[in-house]
Amino acid sequence: MALLTDDECQADVVVLGTGLTESIVAAAVARSGRRVLHLDAAETYGGAGRSLPLREYIAWAGDARDARMPGDGVQAGGDLRSLPRHGWQRLWEPFAPRRTPETAEMPEETREQTEVPEGQRAFALSPERTECYAERSFEWDPFQQMNGIRRKKNELLRNPSAFSLDLSPRLLYGRSEHVDVLIESGVARYLEFQGLKFTRVLTSEGLISVPLTKSEIFQDAHLSKAEKRMLMRFITSIQPYVSSLAFQSAAQLGVDQAAKIKGPSDQSALGMELDGSWRAFLQQQNLSERLQDFITYSICLWDWAPTEAFPQLSCREALERLGAFISSLGLYGRGTSMPLLFPMYGIGEVSQGYTRLCAVHRGVYALRTRATHLLAQEEEDGTMQLSGLVTCRGEQIKASRLVAACGELLQDQVPSQSSSQHCRRMTVLLSSPPLGEEGVSLCVVPPQSLDPPLQNVVQVLQLDFSSGACPHGYFLAHLSQASISDPGPLPFADLDRVLEELLKRSPKTACIFRCRYLQRPRDVATRWDVSTRTGGFMERCLHEERLAVVSDPPAVPQLLAVQEVHDARRIFGSFFGAESAFLPKPQHVAEEEMSGSLEELEHFNQQMQAQEAQEAQEPPVASLVQEDAEQ
């Protein structure tokens, strides 16, 4: 039974999947005045970058038994669509369970028999939706150290929405393309952030704060005098690339000044080879091993140890990262000088912000709606041209352009392959902050910090209730490690060791649950078999820029959202030309901002008047006292 009206079945662009990149594209297209139909087979927004409440999270991680409360019907299998939403199913039969095993077994040819208009052809898509997360496991009380875990579990499951757990947690640089787009588009109005409170490095001597400003370096308790000099000298020597001005806070500098601080320009007077190795450059600078690690891992947030098998950090990339970090530093004042922002409730919230913007600009939304076929129109010259798609309810959508998340557009019987780079992830819920202090914060663990050394650097993102990710009194740690080699039998061994090391520091800390999985983005190039009719057709659509496929959230960088806006802009540009305005400020947002400033001005004037009136009446001392009393 069709739900969409005839009018809604006509779109300029259909978007499949509600991950961050797809949602940005959808918003941009709608904002440009074109009709968008945005579908997702799942029941919730966010695609592979979604943020889940506890029960959905556990079901996803594979242990459905643990997600179940007495009397409800959560089913196994990590398919969030199997979770019950009683109300809707009762009132909206068409939305009832979406899994159709029968169709899965039907050969491609049979399913192509779907009725299509004259001159059109249908190409079947795989009914299976696979994900880029593998080897998922979830355990309560993994170290069997807790008394009363049952009670705790029930207590947490009673309010599962107090959790918002990211599958692929992401931070944003305070000054970045993405933040600019959020502000300009108006999506920022829907969002709140927490600033990162601190970054630490776990070394053999314990958790150390990385000094980031001149005075911090001066006062630092861990660095030797020689190291302090080395560090200051280094900062001074990279001035031509990343102005050391930035080491002062941007608030002092003024935003305009800070904005001018850009990444590397040209070849340098210092003779730095931009394509040369950053490690080698740091060695040349006579920095101690420890300082090299600090700069590489905790400031550049580089994901790889200097092992041959791993990608190497070039000076160019390092300076870009240094620039991003430093120009965001201290930008937002107020106790937090750290350059990174965590979106409240996780990155899934950001994609939902974009979907709202899209909806506000006439975008039509239907979750629980899967595309079963692509439709093609035969042109006069005999070629097939993308003309739309068919939904699981049999609605025929007319659209000449399609954007699809990698996992939404799989060809039947063609197993998707993963790229070799992957990220090992572990998320634990703890009873006290693993990084020693409350607040959203980051810790990096260079390989040599532990003995024997780790295979690769480990990053730890600590979250607490201030980020909306977990209830008050609990702490989340997202541990991750990038890798290239075959995961092997014990892919999470390093993450476990780092956790153990952190927990050693506070023996009373209980680990309430542990979830582990591999994030293996699929190889976009081998998604379909081009020798088949369907695969060949999709490949052609891709070349003719009628179809854009969005890759899975990247495994590397593990914790930064840097690619999405860029990808979205590229896709939007490939459809409508680079000169099309990408998410310009909506009129009503501009008006609101204007009235906001006027209001502030008015408020200021009122205060001035009140003060003047008061001064005229009373001696100044008295007025001060009165104000104090009021407070």
Binding site: W88, G195, R362, A366, S466
Partner: protein, 211 residues
């Protein structure tokens, strides 16, 4: 600072498509009504300042932007709501039957700390179409009573009947809720502010804020 104290209340309006959610907002805020139905587009949120017991509060009324049509409102939409307005069209019984689902949906998604006492207000809209009425006041009142006594108003976005009264109640209940939520100290969050391309602190007016 005694001059102006800003309290921001988030109010969301739920109900089936076509019951008059957008019309009610527009009638209340802009004192306008149009008879032509088009599925809502271009609606984000409307703000209105109201005085409640000498207190100036800013009500931010969020329209569903049409995402409710296929039950596709994400959890982000519900977050931080201080009051939830449930609207039905009293000429269409199905829209009244949906209220139960909308209420459940809200409680699941927004998961307020104290679901039993979360403020809802039910509006039976299109009261000007008395001759076509299909949902009696008694039936609506009874349902509201069974849900921990939700206040019920019959409104007309067309004639503005009861609209002001209903939104006064909504604001009052939202304000009360705002005071009871967040008993735990919540660290301030950052919002990206376009005026300064900089951050300002959000929610400066927690219940425990002394200023």
């Amino acid at each position: 600072m005694s001059a102006k104290k800003k309290v921001l209340l988030k109010v969301i309006i739920l109900g089936d498509s076509g019951v008059g959610k957008t019309s009610l907002m527009n009638q209340y805020v802009n004192k306008k009504f149009t008879n032509q139905y088009k599925a809502t587009i271009g609606a984000d949120f409307l703000t209105k300042e109201v005085m409640i017991d000498d207190k100036l509060v800013t009500m931010q009324i969020w329209d569903t932007a049409g995402q409710e049509r296929f039950q596709s409102l994400g959890v982000a939409f519900y977050r931080g709501a201080d009051c939830c307005v449930l609207v039905h069209d009293l000429t269409v019984p199905k829209t009244f039957e949906s209220l139960e689902v909308w209420r459940d949906e809200f409680l699941i998604q927004a998961s307020p700390r104290d679901p039993d006492n979360f403020p809802f207000v039910v509006l039976g809209n299109k009261a000007d179409l008395e001759s076509k009425r299909k949902v009696t006041a008694a039936r609506a009142t009874q349902w509201c009573k069974s849900k921990n006594s939700i206040p019920y108003h019959e409104t007309s976005a067309a004639t503005a009947q009861n609209v002001e009264v209903a939104f006064q109640e909504i604001a009052r209940r939202a304000l009360k809720q705002e005071h009871t939520e967040d008993p735990i100290y919540l660290p301030e969050t950052l919002t990206l502010n376009a005026n300064q391309q900089n951050f300002s602190n959000n929610r400066p007016m927690g219940p425990d804020c002394a200023c």
